[in-house]
């Protein structure tokens, strides 16, 4: 019923979509897959009317249509749940869901009772744990994702587009969502799902359309394919199982970072841990269990209420991140646009920014030196860029994150803290980033990584501290590092190996 043929779109010099095609039958669930920067989100936005295509045709029921605005998209009964949530932080959940299509009562007034009961029933059906009058700014991101979905469904669409909505969801919530989506598809609603979690799609979708570099390269029946083939279509390479580095022979004497009884308000309670030089420590758990705040408080980015931090035998108490950087700590955020990328500056300046923080304001620096040093990083770590003086925005998300990684390699900190660094990064970039981290750890750098992705933690971490409700629930190492154990610890189920 919906067909996109040879869609093209470029942003300045960057071609986001080139010859992208997609078909969708009534009541079908199709997965739209692709590495980061392959154009999935752009395609979704074109259908949602927030981005205009440069060329190509869209047909609905064999009739060509133009979608020039989100209003036109809605008129075609298309609804989108966006990856970067479109909720307004200071309006209530109820208003957010109904915004733009309140049920009208007599004289065109908003019929509050009818609206509220409608939203209430939707929230209940989709298992969203919040009140109608809560504000999005007070809710955890998994709840926000679900509200975003409910908002899209409230439009009663024929075509539902879900752009990475499961990224912040816990697996129980995903199960519940999927069963609801199946009901929708049985009722004749067609669904397009964009996701990075490849294992999910076999559960929910019947077909997968795979984009690579803005082109649709494959349209596969998910019953007749496996994850390896999908990764092959996405990256052009057959996947290899990465070897888990051995973590024996690390002496317990060599503690580089010791944290004792750290607490931050309600979110982190009495957390203690011990990290040795050259270790890669994973901080796992469901989203919003305090692991991110914990990491940031070590860095001095958010203040802590109590607790001792000892760095290489010296007690430290950072009032700002600048002090932490001076002592050899680095930090990479997964929130690239807000917290790591200088969008108006060049790739070189972006790499150099951490080094730029050192020294006095009035000390000299030459562009030639910046270019030489950053080019060296790009060469050593094989980061794929055009020219060092190109704007950072010419790179895709995965490559931007590699640039941010290079930023810290240039100053070679003792400890590198990462807060969900590969969120929204494609499989192959993710693997490269993991290799960077291993290489750095082998050279004596200590790595603490928060991740919402279990596979990532299991693949890269020597030990995993699992956070649950603001505390460390357990520590997994060696043979305990299995998906089953990690998942049960995340849910707070076993009380095993607790750290004192």
């Amino acid at each position: 019923m919906l067909e996109l043929i040879n869609i093209k779109k470029s942003f300045g010099a960057v071609i986001a979509l080139n010859q992208a095609s997609l078909t969708l039958e009534k009541g079908e669930i199709v997965a739209l897959l692709g590495a980061n920067g392959s154009g999935k989100s752009t395609l979704v936005k074109i259908l949602g009317g927030t981005v205009k295509k440069d060329a190509g045709t869209i047909t609905v029921d064999q009739k060509p249509v133009e979608i020039r605005s989100s209003a036109e998209s809605r008129a075609r009964k298309i609804a989108v749940a966006y990856q970067e949530l479109s909720l307004i932080p200071r309006m209530t959940v109820y208003e957010n869901v109904m915004l733009g299509h309140f049920h009208k009562g007599r004289f065109g007034q908003v019929d509050e009772r009818k609206n509220r009961s409608f939203v209430c029933s939707l929230l209940e059906k989709y298992g969203v744990a919040c009140n109608l009058d809560d504000f999005p700014k007070d809710l955890p991101s998994s709840t926000l994702s679900l509200i975003e979905i409910v908002k899209a469904i409230s439009w009663d669409p024929d075509i539902l587009l879900l752009d990475e909505v499961t990224a912040a969801l816990h697996h129980n919530e995903v199960e519940n969502l999927f069963s609801n989506l199946r009901v929708l598809s049985e009722n004749g609603i067609s669904i397009v799902m964009v996701t990075h979690r490849l294992s999910e799609i076999f559960n929910i979708a019947s077909r997968a359309v795979i984009l690579r570099n803005g082109e649709s390269v494959a349209d596969v029946d998910l019953k007749k394919t496996d994850i390896n083939k999908i990764v092959y279509h996405m990256t052009g390479k057959m996947p290899e199982i990465a070897e888990n580095p051995s973590d024996e022979k690390r002496s317990m004497e060599d503690a580089v970072l010791v944290v004792e009884n750290l607490s931050i308000g309600e979110s982190v309670k009495n957390v203690s841990l011990r990290v040795n030089r050259g270790e890669i420590i994973g901080l796992g758990g469901l989203e919003g269990q305090g692991q991110s705040q914990f990491l940031r408080s070590i860095y001095g980015a958010i203040p802590r209420d109590s607790g001792l931090i000892t760095l290489a035998g010296k007690k430290v108490d950072y009032k700002s991140s600048a002090n932490a950087v001076k002592d050899g700590i680095g930090f990479i955020s997964g929130n690239r646009n807000r917290e790591s990328i200088f969008s108006l500056r060049t790739i070189g300046e972006n790499i150099f920014s951490a080094k730029m923080s050192m020294g006095r304001n009035f000390s000299g620096i030459s562009n030639r030196m910046i270019i030489r040093q950053t080019n060296q990083i790009v060469k050593d770590y094989e980061i794929k860029i055009g020219n060092i003086n190109d704007p950072i925005t010419s790179l895709s998300g995965g490559n931007q994150q590699k640039v941010v990684f290079g930023r810290w390699i240039l100053v070679s900190p003792e400890i590198l803290l990462l807060d969900d660094p590969t969120k929204g990064v494609d499989v192959s970039s993710r693997r490269e980033l993991h290799n960077f981290l291993r290489k750095a750890a082998d050279q004596g750098m200590t790595v603490l990584i928060v991740s919402s992705d279990n596979d990532e933690l299991l693949e890269i971490a020597n030990r995993i501290y699992v956070f649950y409700e603001g505390g460390i629930h357990c520590m997994l190492c060696g043979t305990d590092c299995t998906e089953e154990k990690l998942v049960s610890a995340m849910m707070g189920m076993t009380a095993k190996d607790s750290v004192k």
């Binding site: 600048a322 990328i341 108006l344």
Partner: protein
């Protein structure tokens, strides 16, 4: 191909401002052939040069991100009063006057910066308040009407015209601006300024003391306005209070017309110079066709709005 070239030309805001200045000047000559004289060119150079000092400061403040200095003009007026009061025609007081003006501008600029970064007052409000304070302060300093003059040596070094067309003030402005540009290009401060202006949070997390840098930007902005006041006093020899208050708006306009992003993070050095030139030519043009002062202000205002709309559009960026 041609359309792309035209496009890139129009995107080069510095060049565009220069071309517009020349075009306006030619139009002015057509309207009034007497405008084609070395004297009128020299006047344009002088007036634009006077604007350069405060523009450089404004450019730094705007580049620091979410920044604007509405006290720049009042600062110029204040240091101009201080200069004449202090010098009273005595050239031996020149060095002390320069130091006092710089220190005065720097200190009040830092106060602006502290208010904006550490207390969290919006820059618009903070600097507007500061502007009022400075305006009143001039009256306190000068008892209502500044009586002194600057030294003959200072004023002649600014007003003497070399080859009949290049005024001394132009050379001072040129050297000053060169120093500012080199300072911004070759110090860590200049680079940090760009980074905090682009993304304050990311700069903080990269270990840059973003609040310090931003405060310092306001300090330097105030200092440059302070120097501008001294130069202005030197050019006019005598002073009244609030002489340069209109330079606040002019400096902001020149900077933005020159292609510096109002949201911060990207400065256009050459553009600022040509922006100042364009504003000067525009005002000369309007006075040459005998418009009333009030009408001239209206036209200037409308032109500025049009120019700001034309220049400050951003290209589509992939999210």
């Amino acid at each position: 191909m041609i359309s792309r070239k035209v496009k890139s030309f129009f995107n080069n805001t510095a060049l565009m401002a220069l071309m517009l200045s020349i075009l306006l000047y030619i139009t002015m000559v057509i309207f009034r052939p007497t405008a084609l004289s070395l004297n009128s060119i020299a006047t344009i150079f002088s007036t634009a040069s006077m604007l350069i000092f405060v523009c450089a400061g404004q450019m730094i403040v705007i580049t620091s991100g979410d920044g604007i200095d509405l006290s720049a003009g009042a600062m110029m007026s204040t240091t101009a009063c201080i200069t004449v009061e202090l010098m009273k025609g005595n050239n031996e007081k020149l060095i002390p006057a320069i130091l006092v003006c710089m220190a005065f501008g720097f200190i009040f600029g830092i106060l602006n910066g502290l208010g904006v970064t550490y207390i969290g007052i919006p820059a618009l409000i903070m600097t507007l308040c500061m502007s009022t304070v400075l305006t009143k302060l001039q009256i306190v300093i000068s008892n209502g009407a500044p009586r002194g003059t600057v030294s003959k040596e200072l004023s002649s070094s600014l007003t003497t015209r070399f080859f009949g067309v290049i005024p001394g003030i132009f050379i001072w402005a040129f050297l000053f601006f060169l120093v500012v540009v080199l300072f911004l290009k070759y110090t860590k401060f200049g680079h940090r300024l760009n980074l905090i202006g682009t993304n304050f949070e990311a700069a903080n997390l990269s270990g840059i003391r973003a609040k310090h840098v931003r405060t310092l930007a306001y300090g330097l902005g105030g200092m440059m306005a302070g120097i501008g006041g001294l130069v202005g006093a030197g050019y006019f020899r005598q002073m009244q209070v609030s002489t340069f208050n209109s330079y606040t708006m002019q400096s902001i306009s020149a900077v933005v017309i020159g292609g510096t992003m109002l949201s911060g993070g990207k400065a256009n050095y050459l553009g600022t110079v040509f922006g100042a030139l364009l504003l000067t030519v525009l005002s000369q043009f309007l006075s040459s066709i005998n418009t009333s002062v009030a009408m001239r202000n209206v036209i200037m205002g409308v032109m500025l709005i049009i120019l700001l709309i034309a220049y400050n559009r951003k290209p589509a960026v992939r999210q």
